[in-house]
């Protein structure tokens, strides 16, 4: 039906400005409102501003500011060094224990702070996505990118430790992007999944700290992979953080690496990434209704 038959003078006075190629958006129940990659690309600057907000807000709000990025892995590294390294005398692949544990805690901290921030990020911004449309996946992604920024900052301490212990950079460093990809895929997959489920199930908030704590001891952060019995190694490696932590140490410090661990981890990370993102997209259209 036609809306009106009003005088047309006004209309002709302002004939549609042709602004670029006409793009038609079609909204249907099935297509829903899940954004495609093109939407995300269109609004990629928003991701940048969300990260900028997270970083600069923390910098302004906390008196320690950026120092938090160092302290997050550094404090547990000190505790680990004293208790596991000195008192319990855990092996450390021939590396000084402090360096060993810090190199493990760096990727671990990226994962744990990503997941704990990302999982609550959506719940904490309901006022945003119930009022404006934008690719919602940016919200958990921004938390993850922010944690990645912290990881880069805290790698300065790692460099310092390597200089202090006269540990040369391993040639394996060329494989670092692969390791980062495994860590990022697993983190993004779990972050998106948990953030979406936290909207529906508020219990997620309470499960996560517990889960992260458990997972820390399942990862070779405080101990080397070599102390895990051979027959359990592949099952153990189903947790992609095993590959991320072991792989990170291997690529930076040149510690030994079980390649099968990496393979299992890479597959696991890819599965989690796809599953997490798919789940997010599936429930995204209902966020505004149930949040």
């Amino acid at each position: 039906m036609k809306l009106h038959d009003l005088p047309r003078q006004l209309r002709t006075a302002c004939e549609p400005r042709k602004t670029g190629p006409e793009m038609a958006t079609v909204i249907t129940p099935s297509a829903g409102n899940a954004p495609g990659l093109s939407d995300m690309w269109e609004q990629r600057e928003l991701l940048y501003y969300l990260v900028l907000r997270d970083v600069s807000v923390r910098y302004k709000q906390t008196s320690l500011g950026l120092a938090w990025a160092f302290l997050q892995p550094l404090l547990p590294a000190i505790v680990f060094t004293v208790f596991f390294g000195k008192l319990a005398n855990l092996p450390s692949d021939g590396m000084p224990y402090a360096l060993f544990s810090y190199a493990g805690l760096l990727p671990w901290t990226f994962f744990s702070s990503s997941v704990s921030q990302a999982s609550l990020s959506l719940v904490n911004s309901t006022s945003l996505f119930t009022k404006v449309y934008f690719p919602r996946v940016f919200i958990p992604l921004a938390s993850i990118v922010t944690a990645g920024f912290d990881a880069i900052v805290s790698s300065v301490v790692l460099v310092g430790l390597m200089l202090y212990y006269h540990t040369p950079l391993s040639a394996n460093i060329v494989f670092l992007p692969l390791v980062v990809a495994i860590a990022a895929a697993f983190t993004i997959g779990s972050g998106t999944f948990l953030s979406a489920s936290a909207i529906r199930y508020r219990d997620v908030r309470y499960i996560i700290p517990f889960m992260i704590q458990m997972l820390l001891f399942l990862c070779p952060v405080a101990y080397p992979a070599s102390i895990v019995p051979e027959k359990w190694r592949l099952v153990w490696a189903l947790n992609p953080m095993v590959a991320a932590v072991e792989g990170f140490r291997w690529s930076v410090l040149g510690t030994p690496l079980d390649v099968r661990t990496m393979g299992v981890g890479a597959v696991g990370a890819a599965v989690v990434l796809v599953a997490g993102v798919k789940y997010f997209q599936k429930v995204e259209s209902t966020f505004a209704d149930i949040a």
Binding site: H4, T19, T28, R53, S56, V57, T130
Partner: protein
């Protein structure tokens, strides 16, 4: 030449009213929903499902300015949320030609710790603007908001007026082809509101397509050329804005007595008292539930006392559509009433020239204080106030004022000396 920029076909939206969803909804939604679900055919409100929109279809041509009117719960917000892709429809199809900008709430995503400058960019990006667009209109945004001196100050140090002005300024510079505007835009002082209205008119004259939702009929009439009136989730009227508004104001009937009775029927029986009827009406106005701000309206509660109770209290809450409790009143506020057995009526008059135009909920409370409440949050009756006369008529060309009340006060302006 037909050139629809928005085409809506057979659009439907179903909500589930389960226990799972209830705790996570905003109070504002809950009130709107409560009102709408009971106002709809109560027989059909079968177990937890209701259709906020049913088979909605219309077309909007490029460059048109369309007012979307309808009572609370008519489906306006749901329709806007679907058009802006905040929520997905259950059925039907929408076709949009061009980028859509939605101003459903001003200042979304403002962060108190960030400076005005940072917030302009962040908020602009959230609203879907590109950095280049924001940078290009940055000076205009700052000038429009009038916060030039504080642009590098954290927003938490802003007054609330500055905050809303800046927020509106960002939103007003959205350069999308289609603009969805909710009435929340109406912010700030009278002068700023005038500026906002002017800005909106400019937008309309630029040939962009605007959908405007408001309870302020005069603003709708000024800003828009066409109108779509929704009722019970369906398109009721479309056409020229003046004609639609006129019909809408005259013909829309709200909160039918049957709907109230349906709510009363769900009450748990009480040995001491039986609620027979609750009515909200405005004398000299047949539009039940659609009242004028300048006239008083009445709340009348009829009940049968079956056991004499000393502490029987009859009253109601008046709630604004954001959930704010404006006041709670009881019939014994001024003096106690003795009630023997029999049928009684407690009637209260809410004066005219007191409330702002908009939606309100009357929520009666009847019970034995403090032992048990027979009616308490079980019944809610939607009241919509529209302004055609009274306080603020001198400035009806501007927007809604802030605040809940708009009382008629005795002003006296005299020359000094």
């Amino acid at each position: 030449m037909k050139n629809p920029v928005i085409r809506v076909e057979g659009l439907g939206k179903r909500y589930w009213l389960g226990q799972n969803t209830a705790p996570y909804e905003t109070l504002r939604d809950s009130i709107a929903r409560l009102g709408s679900v009971f106002r709809r055919q109560p027989a059909q409100a079968a177990r937890g499902e209701f259709w906020a929109l049913r088979d909605v279809g219309f077309e909007i041509e490029r460059g048109d300015t369309v007012a979307l009117v309808g009572r609370n719960g008519a489906g306006k917000s749901t329709l806007l949320k679907i058009l802006s892709r905040i929520t997905a429809p259950t059925r039907g199809r929408v076709e949009l030609h061009g980028r859509v900008g939605s101003l459903l709430e001003v200042g979304t995503g403002f962060h108190p710790e960030l400076t005005g400058r940072e917030n302009i960019f962040l908020n602009g990006a959230i609203l879907g603007m590109r950095r280049r667009e924001i940078a290009r209109s940055f000076d205009q945004i700052v000038a429009f908001s009038g916060v030039e001196a504080f642009v590098d100050t954290p927003v938490k140090r802003y007054s609330s007026g500055m905050h809303t002005r800046l927020a509106f300024a960002v939103a007003a510079h959205l350069e999308t082809e289609i603009l969805l505007v909710d009435e929340v835009l109406a912010v700030g002082d009278a002068e700023f509101q005038k500026k906002c209205l002017g800005k909106m008119q400019d937008v309309a004259h630029e040939g962009r397509t605007v959908i405007f939702v408001s309870h302020n009929m005069s603003a709708c009439a000024q800003l828009c050329r066409s109108a779509v009136a929704l009722q019970n989730g369906q398109v009721w009227l479309t056409g020229n804005v003046h004609e639609v508004i006129k019909k809408y104001l005259i013909e829309v009937s709200a909160s039918s007595p049957t709907a109230v009775h349906a709510q009363l029927a769900l009450l748990r029986p009480d040995p001491a008292l039986r609620v027979l009827d609750i009515r909200v009406f405005q004398l000299g106005n047949d539009n039940r539930g659609n009242f004028f701000t300048h006239l008083p309206f009445e709340i009348e509660m009829t009940y049968e006392v079956t056991v004499v109770e000393r502490n029987l209290r009859v009253g109601f809450d008046l709630i604004a559509n954001d959930g704010a409790l404006l006041f709670r009143a009881f019939d014994d506020d001024m003096r106690r009433h003795e009630r023997r057995l029999g049928v009684f009526t407690s009637r209260c008059q809410v004066p005219g020239n007191l409330l702002m135009p908009g939606d309100y909920v009357v929520s009666p409370s009847i019970g034995i204080d403090p032992d048990r409440w027979i009616v308490h949050k079980d019944v809610s009756i939607g009241v919509q106030l529209m302004q055609i006369d009274g306080v603020n008529m001198t400035y009806m060309d501007t927007y809604r004022r802030p605040g809940y009340l708009m009382p008629e006060l005795a002003w006296n302006v005299v020359p000094r000396g």
